[in-house]
Symmetry: C2
């Protein structure tokens, strides 16, 4: 009898369930549901505000309603069960991935503060979504203090942590709503809160704790002493509010409770795996479970994940976490803050009507039309070079205040040339990251890619040409959900119809590559020339020799 | 009885005549006519090719038919006489301005070679228009040799002469059509050829000879020795082919011949003034005849003209010519190769459909809409900075291979912000030129502007703010034609109903300013900050520290 595993992929706007054949990795059924309250960034949902008026949220806030996660989980799982006709007893495990850091305050029994009448009209009672950016002042103070004190955890994150992460969000809660910080028994990641609901066990997954919560397997968390200097009442953050055992990816957190087994239509005791961040789930989902193979998820931004057998501090990487992706290995994460969203910006704000009309006549999207025209150019023919910092530079400079640059424009410059230069710039940015790893002792032997941008053949060819490496496109477009399903199979173990390791699971369940792009040898020379120029501009504007980008940002903000 | 003067403005596509009241400067009548053959840049006019087939011209060629100048002169002058009803005896003088270097080969009696059956099918027999750019290889050799030999005339032109000028065009004629060079008794500027036709006297106007023919009042022309090294047969260029007395602006070349008096309906003997280049005619036309007042003609490119009492070699200026603009003074010329055409490029190639639709709804041009939106931004608010080198950098770097740069772009950048940054960049470029003059001992005490861009209020205010100087907009939109008319009045002299000097003429005939833009004091600080950054980028990319623009151009050309 075939066995199956369920993967749940909790995204920003929606949740997806896949029901997967454990032996083959075939996705037998899939279902996706939007969150009823979506991203809450303008005002709290109406029903939460009974009698207390309509308060708009401040700028940069982004909240989520935890009830939406449970509701979409029920709907999507029942849908894949119905669609597949698979019997509950054949489901050997359940795994999930989640956005992060997406964190909510709860009582000791897991009840979210936003579900309690006393607190629900206070925005701080709600889940702060990963892209809640209102804790930037707190992040600045965390970074300044950590740098000043020489905290050893800081270099593991490229010397700076983001306002999206746990400490800034917790400090904002404490400072702006001290009464809520006090009554919150726990601060919990959405991922861990869902596994807690399902199993009755509160555990902290190593991936989110490590990449967003500054946990380290050997050194633990930042010290209470450090926290106390930030704010006297923050010293209990990790000891009390973030308490709980750390569980590695695929480790079984517990079995499904009777209540949740009933609600989901699954068998009581079905193993539930420790979650991982959505991007990181895509790594095994894309077939990568060992050292030396970099997995890149290429979308609005790009996340680069890579494993190695040892811990090295690589300049400008976003984090290194032992057990962060695959147990037993050190997972490295780097990132480019703007990739697809730079191309989207250009297509929306920089392309004249004639191109829109031509695209419509040819029934192409503007991206397709521009790619087609840009593909007719040889490397270097545009005469343009860009620095891909429209959304700042995450790796390797870790500086959100850097900005985009385009050089080489003439009166003959046309939209497809700029489009191509922007693609090339993001490819150069990836090459910088690859070289940062390899030059600092973390080997990159192969590259596997996933995400929406892998559909663009011109882009993939440029990435192959610029890096001089084969670009393998993962064989699934649902790498995160498939990876989550693999975690469920590992939580079950081979004795129960699953697998004992993520490598085993991926070996059987990851599909073969969809496509492979080989570098074109004649493109190496012009791209090496352009890359040399890119690196010079990168260092000149990015490392303080010319601070014009900072000056421009200050003038803009005045 | 009132007296009148006629100004003729020979442009690239058309000629204009104005009939002007000598006492007041009032333009009593004006008429404009297109040249029948226009700019000849694809093939010779059909009637020139009888029996010899249809030969397309090579790239970068641009020719003109001298018959068009005479025909339009007859039509426009008869039209202004008719319209004004002024009696021919009241016309005291006639002056003209012309594009340059616009040069044709003629026989000893002035007959253009292109009007002789033996030669007319050879493109080299025709007038080479100022924007004929096919002599670039010859220009490169002229510059290389002059630099190598340390020719003293080279630094007067910023260290490099243009392919548009006399020597490259003459050398191209000699090398590509030696038989025509041999039979051409003269090479003549269009301006001097017209005054020759009108008066029977061949003279060379100091303005064109100085700015385009490398003539110097004290040192004369480049030596026959230099010319002989370029090509053995070129040594007679200045001695024979370019022979003729030099006449200063407004000096009388002669009186109208009986034939031309009849053809134009004017009195025989009417004084005809030495011509000037069209841009330079606008200087007195705009009311500037003394030292220290810079006149800027702002259009697709900007030409900056300034007079002083002495000759100084200012880095990167296009030329300094004694008697070049006003007799007795040294006329300096600088330029920005791309100004209005950068904005036009952006409007055509970088603005998305939503702006086009909004402009149409508001019955505005795109320039007007973008200016309106950009005017709502305070200085620095765009967060952008540009180097205005889309068409290379004429002054002060004299380098056509430099290219445009935009820095500071983010995902929030919008079209009006780029538009404003481009305007600001051209204003910074003007400030560099002003500082080059003032720092090297040529005072700039005031600024007067003319040309199409003076219609843009936002642009003019930005120029005032960036330079910290009053921007005076000349009171006439026909500054060149009015200046030409003043030259006619000066050729007449006060004894004959005109004036004795250009200063006298302009003092009476130039209208008061149309508008004056005052610098806004609160804008000085942000623009000084931005200008400091502009200068740093200007030097970094423009003076060889970072040669990326050259590298990009080489890659483009491969």
């Amino acid at each position: 009898m075939s066995t199956y595993t369920i993967g749940l992929d909790f995204g920003t706007e929606s949740a997806r369930a896949v029901l997967v054949d454990v032996a083959t990795g075939e996705i037998v059924a899939t279902n996706i549901q939007l969150y009823a309250d979506g991203v809450i960034d303008e005002r709290l949902p109406a029903r939460a505000l009974r009698g207390s008026g309509d308060k708009p949220l401040p700028p940069d806030w982004a909240l989520q309603n935890p009830a939406d996660w449970l509701a979409t989980m029920e709907t999507t799982i029942s849908a894949v069960l119905r669609e597949s006709g698979v019997a509950p007893e054949s489901i050997v495990g359940l795994g999930l991935d989640f956005t992060a850091c997406t964190v909510l305050p709860t009582k000791a029994d897991g009840t979210p503060l936003c579900e309690l009448a006393d607190y629900r009209t206070n925005p701080h009672a709600w889940t702060k979504l990963w892209k809640h950016h209102a804790a930037q002042p707190q992040a600045d103070r965390v970074n300044d203090l950590a740098l000043q004190r020489g905290e050893t955890w800081l270099p593991r994150y490229g010397g700076k942590i983001s306002s999206e992460w746990l400490m800034p969000k917790a400090l904002q809660l404490l400072e702006e709503a001290p009464e809520l910080y006090a009554v919150a028994d726990y601060l919990v990641e959405g991922s861990d809160w869902v596994t807690w609901r399902l199993t009755g066990q509160l555990a902290r997954n190593a991936c989110t704790a490590g990449y967003k919560g500054t946990w380290h397997k050997r050194d633990g968390y930042p010290s209470a002493d450090f926290l106390a200097v930030l704010h006297p009442d923050l010293s209990n953050l990790y000891r009390d509010k973030y308490a709980g055992p750390i569980v590695a990816p695929g480790q079984k957190v517990g079995g499904l409770t009777r209540e949740w087994a009933n609600r989901l239509g699954l068998a009581q005791g079905t193993p539930v795996a420790a979650a991982v961040i959505d991007a990181h789930a895509a790594v095994p989902g894309g077939g990568v479970t060992g050292p030396g193979s970099m997995f890149m998820i290429m979308g609005t931004s790009t996340c680069h994940m890579l494993m190695a057998e040892s811990e090295v501090l690589v300049e400008g990487i976003s984090g290194v976490v032992e057990d962060g992706i695959v147990p037993g290995l050190f997972g490295y994460e780097a990132g480019q803050a703007g990739v697809g969203d730079i191309f989207a910006w250009f297509v929306e704000h920089g392309v004249p009507p004639a191109y829109h009309e031509e695209a419509a006549r040819q029934s192409l999207s503007l991206h397709q039309l521009l790619s087609k025209k840009a593909a007719a150019l040889r490397p270097g023919q545009s005469g343009l070079l860009a620095l891909d910092w429209w959304n700042g530079c995450r790796s390797t400079l870790v500086d959100a205040d850097l900005s985009g640059l385009l050089i080489g424009a003439t009166l003959g410059t046309r939209a497809e040339e700029i489009y191509r230069a922007l693609i090339e710039a993001t490819a150069f940015g990836t090459r910088v990251i690859i070289e940062a790893f390899t030059e600092q002792g973390v080997p990159v032997e192969s590259i596997v890619t996933g995400g929406g941008l892998t559909q663009n053949e011109l882009l993939m060819q440029i990435y192959a040409d610029v890096t001089g490496r084969e670009m393998v496109v993962a064989g699934t477009e649902q790498a995160s959900a498939l990876g989550a399903a693999m975690l469920g199979a590992v939580a079950a173990g081979s004795a129960n119809g699953g697998y004992d390791t993520l490598a085993d699971a991926a070996g059987h369940m990851a599909p073969p590559p969809a496509r492979v792009y080989q570098p074109i040898s004649t493109h190496a020379a012009p791209y090496n020339t352009l890359y040399t120029e890119y690196r010079r501009l990168y260092d000149y504007f990015g490392r303080g020799e010319n601070k014009v980008m900072k000056t421009l940002r200050q003038l803009r903000a005045k």
